[in-house]
Structure formats: C-alpha cells, structure tokens
C-alpha cells in the first residue's frame, strides 16, 4: 500500500524543505499545500480502507530499520550532549540507559529478527490517521499566522521558525509512523521521535522556564522509553516474532501481559497521567499551536493509543486494573485541579490530562464496550480540545493575556472567537455534544465491568467538577460590561480557516458519530472481542433532536435582538452605576466593579491534590511493578 508509506514519508520530506525555506510567503504556500495533501490523503485512506479489517503492508524501503537505528543513535548523542551542557543529569542518565539498551539490543539480537510486515492499517489507526491528517494539518496552517504574531509580540525570542516548522512536520510524519507501525521497534523509533519533537518545541522560546520544562518533559518521556525498550528486550528473548504487534496481540494474555504493562507504563508517561502530569502542565510554555497539536490532540494520544491497543491483553488482569485506577485517579484529581486554575492554558492542560486519564481507565479495564468508549473519547477530545487551544491562542494574542479573568465580555470584544470557544467548551461537557456522549457510554459500560463501581464513582464526582470549571469559564466570556468594544481586529486568514473548520468538525462529528461508530469503531471492536456495542437507537434520535433544539438559543437571540427592549442597568444595591460599572464608594472614592470567578483553592488547590495523586499513583505503579516482577521471575 503506497498510501501508508506516503503519509509517513511526505511530511518528512516537507520537513526537510522547511529547513531551507525562510520566506514567510513561500513557507505559507508550502504549509497550506502540504496540509491540504495530508488532509486529502488521510480522507482517501478512509475511503480505501473503511471496509477492511487489519491490512498488513511492507514498507517499500528495505534498510529502513537500519536507518532508524542510525538516526536514533545520533539523536541520543545529541541529547546526551545537551544533558551535559545544561547539567540535566537525570535526562542524561535516562538517555544513556535507553541508548545503551538499544545499542546492546541491536548488536546482539537484530540478526535473529525475521522481517515481517512492518506496517499495518486497521480501523483504529485509520481514526488516528484522520485525526493527525486533518486536525494536525489544520493546526500547522494555524501555526503560520500564530508564529508570525508570536514573534511580533515577543521580540526577545529568536526567530527560529525554520526549525519550528521542520519539527512540526517531522512530528506529523512520526505520528503517522507510530499509528501505522506493526513492528514494535518501529513504534519505538517513532515514539522517540515524538518525544524529541516535543522536547524541541517546548524549549522553543529558550527561556529558562522553557528549557527546564522541556527537560522535565524529556526525562519523564525517556523513563517511559526505557520501559518500552525493556518490553522489546523481554519479547525478543521470548520470541523475536512477537515484536510484531499483530502476533503479539494475538499471542494471548500469558505471553503478552508483561510487555503490555511495560508499554502501558510508557503510555502513561507519554499521556502525562498522574505521577507524570507535571510535564504536560509545564509544556504549556510552548507556543499554543504546539500545545494544541502535541499536547492535546495527537502526541499524548499516542500514549493512550498504545494502551487502548493493548486493552484486550490488560482486561481482567490485576495489572490492567491498576493501570485503569491510575487513569481514574488522574481523571478525578486533574478535573478538580482544573477548578483552581485561572490560566486558560493550564485549565486546558488539566482537562486534557483528565480526559487522557479517563481513556486509560477505560482501556485498562478493557472490556469491549469500554474500548468502544475509549476510541470515541479520543475522537471527540482531539477535535474539541484543539479548537479550544487555538481559540485561546488567538485570544491571547489580541488581549495579551491567557488569564481567564481577563476574558470577561469576550462575547462582545471578540464575538466570533467567543462563539467558537463556546462551541468547543460545550463539546467538552454539555449534552448532547461529544464528550458527554462518551461519559454517558462510559458509565453504562463500567457498570457491567469488574470493579466498575469505583470508576462510576470517579466519573460521577469528576464529571461534576468538569461542569464547574467549564461553566464558570463560559460565564466569564459572556459577562459583559456595557461599554466594551470589539477588538477582534485582523486575525490572519489561515487562522480563521483552521478555526472555522475545527468548529464545524465539533458539530459535524456530533451528528456523524453514529456513522463513525458503526463504520469504524464497531467493526474494530467486533474484530477483537467478537462482539461490540453501540448507543441505543432511541437515544441517538433524542440526542440529534436535542442538538437541533439547541438552535433555540442562537435563533431566539436573533429574534430578541430585533425587538426593542427595555435595558436596565445591572443591580448594584441601588448604587447608580455608569456604563463602565464604577460607583461612588465611601469618602468620595470611585470604585470599579470587578467580578472574579471562584477558584476554591482550599478545596481544589493544585499542590495538595498533586501530592496526593502522585503518591497514590506511584504507589499503584509500584504494586503493578512488583506484580510484574513476580510474573517475569
């Protein structure tokens, strides 16, 4: 299949071109063209493959594995050098261990490894490819305008846009590689590439904070990488053929459990679940398109992708349950922590962590209906969250702040963006939009699963926290002072295009989700478990009806706009207030009315919850580790 290798190789080639191009015009043209090609290619892939189950493919380039090894070693040397240069000894040590293991492994085993099919495609990787191909390329297009403004605002930061776009496209290529690779060595290679891309992009600004956070992210992901390669070594010792995902997954729990848990650990680090959540929060220093692309819609999804892949192995095992618990605790605590944040990107980060946790909770328990839910969550979350990130990025550039408290009255100041944010947020927590559909399905699925009650409780409490922090943010956007002005101004065309398409996707996917479910997710689940699940037809009809009924709000808004209305000032306990909401305080002092949201730090403070979560999750992981050691020995 030429298409798979095309999707991997094409962005990589474009990335190289990006290094050569320095003119903004030329770059724009190239990025937009590439985005269009990638988007169309992934859609073409959908049309070619939607009716097929797993298809195995060979990569047309024979010595690919060797090339990968060389690249890996070079990258390792570079990271080791950086580790020494910045005195990040932990990173240095982890890289050293990892590279050492890899080289030792390659030199002592690789001769024995038979070459099987290196690439594959099934419905799940098709879904991932669509996310990467469509959302990923939209974000790249958005990044064009964003980076222009970014450097305009931050004169102190060196313009390294060549590197930026190079890394972005290398990343896209690696993501495609990751979801199409059947050979675990390949998966690992692409896995490492995404880690390093993330490292480069987080550290883009080269400030001290950025560098530190970049190294934090790198070392945590390298820890996962070590676990990954441990799984590879373990498997090779067992039977080199098992290095292929299809054979591994088919080999049953007895064989595959140890690597499944090790790789799931790697997935947990990549998806920034609880003991490792700090790297994702720290990664928010990166330019916003990076947060949208790597840290919400695609790269962190690679972590959950691999865990969902192994869900059939994990299901019913204690280790799987522990992994699910780590996910569940992460969902609960990250949702709580989001309440206490006023930095918009941090709220988005915590919400991302929470949702990844939920996906892992589903995958760890791993029954057939939970896998269905997990994939659904991946789809809905990727779209709505990337939209929100892009909106916040745009707002930040216009109002010069990413603090939610500064977003008051956005609906008047930047109406279009505010409405998009509204739709994105509704997509995250309101019926009948995507995430609620999945949470609902999750409750119904957990109820029949072993120990499901714990997860239902987690969902009930965590879900209500979600309602709280999204609604108060929504409230902030629409609480309007009467003399606020439109400041939307000139946002670049590319940005608008990406934003419009993503907003459209949030809505369209809600309508189209029965289709996505029945064409892609259900066959995939059916193929693995022998049975599948779906939402009852009656419920679907009602959801669609509600979605239509929701049009009342905007329509009646239009209607009311036309009617003459008696406008009264807001109630201020009798204080006469002029339009800018100030009033005469005592001693003739004029005071401004300032309204601020609740953050409840005493209840949902970041530090305390983080400590608790880290302790709990490390504890759980240690138990899993002990169990695993028992199995190996």
């Amino acid at each position: 299949m030429i298409d798979l290798s095309f999707l991997i190789a094409f962005p990589a080639l474009v990335a190289l071109l990006m290094l050569l191009i320095s003119g903004q015009k030329l770059r724009s043209a190239l990025v937009i063209a590439t985005a269009a090609v990638l988007g169309l290619a992934s859609i073409a892939l959908l049309f070619l493959n939607w009716d097929k189950n797993t298809v195995l493919v060979n990569f047309p380039f024979e010595p690919a594995t060797e090339v990968m090894l060389v690249i890996e070693v070079l990258l390792a040397i570079w990271i080791l050098y950086l580790g020494v240069k910045h005195r990040k000894w932990l990173t240095f040590f982890l890289m050293f261990v990892q590279a050492g293991l890899l080289v030792w492994f390659e030199t002592s085993y690789s001769i024995h490894i038979e070459r099987g099919f290196n690439l594959f495609i099934d419905q799940f990787s098709l879904i991932m490819a669509l996310i990467i191909g469509i959302i990923g390329s939209l974000i790249c297009v958005y990044a064009l305008g964003y980076m222009e403004t970014y450097h305009h605002h931050h004169k102190e930061i060196k313009d390294r846009r060549k590197l930026f776009f190079f890394t972005l496209f290398v990343f896209l290529s690696a993501m495609f590689g990751l979801v199409f690779s059947n050979n675990l060595l390949w998966v690992f290679f692409f896995w490492e590439i995404t880690t390093i891309c993330s490292f480069v992009l987080i550290g883009y600004a080269k400030t001290e904070e950025a560098t530190n956070n970049a190294f934090l992210a790198l070392s945590m992901n390298l820890l996962g990488g070590v676990a990954f390669i441990a799984a590879i070594v373990y498997l090779t010792n067992l039977d080199p053929n098992l290095l292929h995902l299809d054979t591994l997954l088919a080999s049953g729990q007895a064989v595959a459990l140890v690597p499944a848990v090790l790789i799931s650990f790697a997935g947990i680090t990549k998806a920034a679940l609880m003991p490792f959540s700090s790297w994702l929060v720290g990664a928010m220093v990166a330019p916003t398109p990076v947060s949208a692309l790597l840290h919400s819609s695609t790269m962190v999804k690679a972590g959950v992708y691999i865990i969902v892949k192994f869900a059939p192995i994990l299901t019913g095992t204690t280790e799987g349950l522990i992994i699910a618990m780590v996910g569940g605790i992460t969902f609960l605590l990250a949702s709580f922590m989001a309440i206490s944040q006023n930095n918009a990107k941090k709220v988005l980060a915590y919400s991302t962590i929470a949702n990844l946790g939920l996906i892992v909770a589903c995958a760890g328990v791993g029954t057939y209906n939970l896998m269905w839910v997990a994939i659904l969550l991946i789809v809905f979350h990727a779209i709505a969250k990337s939209l929100l990130f892009l909106c916040v990025g745009t707002v930040e550039h216009r109002i010069g702040s990413r603090n939610i408290e500064d977003m008051g009255g956005l609906i008047v100041r930047m109406p279009k963006i505010a409405i998009m944010m509204f739709i994105g947020m509704a997509g995250m927590f309101l019926a009948p939009f995507g995430m609620v559909i999945s949470k609902w399905a999750a409750i119904e699925a957990f109820i029949t699963a072993p120990f499901g009650l714990i997860f239902i409780a987690i969902l009930a409490f965590g879900g209500s926290a979600t309602v709280f922090f999204w609604s108060k943010w929504m409230g902030k956007i629409i609480s309007v002072m009467r003399d606020q002005k439109v400041v939307e101004g000139t946002v670049a065309k590319e940005k608008w295009a990406s934003l419009y398409i993503l907003t459209g996707l949030v809505v369209v996917v809600c309508f189209a989700f029965p289709l996505i479910s029945s064409l892609l997710i259900e066959p995939y689940v059916l193929n693995i478990y022998g049975h599948t699940t779906r939402l009852a037809q009656a419920n679907l009809t009602i959801m669609i009806m509600m979605l239509c009924l929701l049009m009342i709000t905007p329509l009646s808004m239009l209607f009311y706009r036309k009617k003459p209305a008696a406008i009264a000032p807001p109630y201020m306990a009798g204080r006469p207030t002029p339009t800018h909401m100030s009033f005469a305080g005592s001693l003739g002092v004029t005071r401004e009315v300032v309204l601020s949201n609740y953050y409840l730090p005493r209840f949902f403070g970041e530090e305390r919850l983080f400590m608790a979560g880290t302790a709990l999750c490390w504890g759980l992981l240690l138990i899993a580790g002990t169990l695993l050691a028992g199995v190996i020995l």
Binding site: I411, A431, W440, F468, A538, L550, I552, T553, S556
Partner: protein, 293 residues
Amino acid sequence: MIPEYLMPVVTAILYIVLAPLLGGLICGIDRKVTARMQGRVGPPILQPFYDVAKLFEKENPVVTVAQNAYVLSYLVFMAVAGALFFAGNDMLLVIFAFTLSHIFLVLGAYSSYSPYSHVGAERELLQIIAYEPMIILTAVGMYMVTKSFFVSAIATSGIPIIFYLPGVFIGYLMVLTIKLRKSPFDLSTSHHAHQEIVKGVTTDFAGPNLAKIEIAHWYEYVFLLGVIWLFFAWSPLIAIVVIVVAYFVEILIDNTFARVKWQLMLRSSWIIAGMLGLVNLGVLYYLKLVVPS
C-alpha cells in the same frame, strides 16, 4: 385505547401540559404549609399562579438582550428533560439534559454584570457539583436493581427498589433539599420571601423572564418527585404517600434550619453521597457479583 408505541409521546405531552399546573400547586401548598408552621394563615393555594400571571403582566427589562435567550433555553430544556423522563427514556440522558438546562440559567445570571447574580451563578454551579454525583449514583443504583437505565423499564419492573437502595434514597432526599432550593441549602437563590445575596441567580431577571424561571422550577419539582416515585414504583399508593411525606419533611427542614455556608453544603452532600450512596451500591455490587443468586 392508545397504541403502545404512542404511550411515551402521550406521557411526554401530558407532562409538558400538566407539570406546570401540578408544580405550581405543590408550590402553593408548600407556601401554605410553611405559613401554618410559622403560625400564619398564608397565601391562597393558587398564589404561585397569581404570581406568575402577574409577572407576565409586567415590563421585561433586561441587562443584556441575551438574557431572554438563556431563560427561554432554560425553560425549554427543563421541559424537554422532564418530558424525556416521563416518556421513559434513559435516566442518564435525562440527567445530562437537566444539567444542560441549569447551565443556561447559570449563563443567564453570568451575562448580567451584577455582583449579586454573579455570586448567585457561582453558587448555583457549586450546588450543581454538590448534587450531581448523588443523582448519577441514584440512576446507577436503579440500573443495578432493575438492569436498565430506561425509566420505563425501571418504573414497570415491579421490583421494590427502595429495599435495595435505602442508602441511595436517603442520599437522594439530601440532594433534593438542594434541588428544591430549601434551607439550609438555598444558597444560590431561594423561594418565598427568603433573601440571600438579594436573589442570587435570579437577581437580574424581572417580569416575564422571572416568570419563566418560576415555571421551569415547577417542571423540575415534578421531575424530582417523579424520581422518588421510581423508588416505590411497584406500589403507586405507597409511592404517593412517600412523596407527600418526603415533601412535608423537606418543608419542615426548610423551616427549622438556618442557611449553611457553601463549604458545608459541598462537604456534607459529597460525604453523604459517598457514604450512603456508594456504600449502598457497593453492598449491592458485592451481593450481585460475588454471591450470585
């Protein structure tokens, strides 16, 4: 006779038409009983209807025009959510629809720039997170007993659900106090002549908008009492008695407790949900899974 497949539609329409009447009546009786408890004569039973009719006669001043749209959506989705419930649909879907409608009320309060309605909105959100877990656990409990999330199946299962879910029921009564906006949990806004941060979420709504909010409350009343019905659905007579008693107890609590701070509300409702609800469900879960009958 009405054919089987039309029943849900009929009950839904009946709800949409009759629920405001019933809810208003309950509200009127509530006020009368409250007055008697305080040694007063109290208003006529139909007073809530007079109030709402009057509000429709008044002018409709708004802070921003958008308020109208939010209130309308609040009312519509409240009615739709209740109709879904009475048409026998999925409990969880009903709960999510109710959350949606409440969010509209909260947004309406946020959209005015008044500190009072702003605080009211924040507190309304706090109330939502205080009661929502317990409501979801109630639905889950009903599923564990009847093996269905569908209200129609739960109501006609013939199982005396209350015997399986006593803890959940008490937990539900606890959050019912919040949902009915009764003291000690009438933090975001309150009924009758009670005042808290002026009128909380409803501060900046006047005239017809306020009337719509009132009607939405009536819809909600009927839904909330309908959930009590489900616990006792195997015997309608007992169900009605319990509903009457439960509501009376709520009025009694309303008149004997002082308003609490939100911290206490959040803690107590979560602890009750955790202790009574979860433990109850845990026992059920254990019995069902470990000791199969």
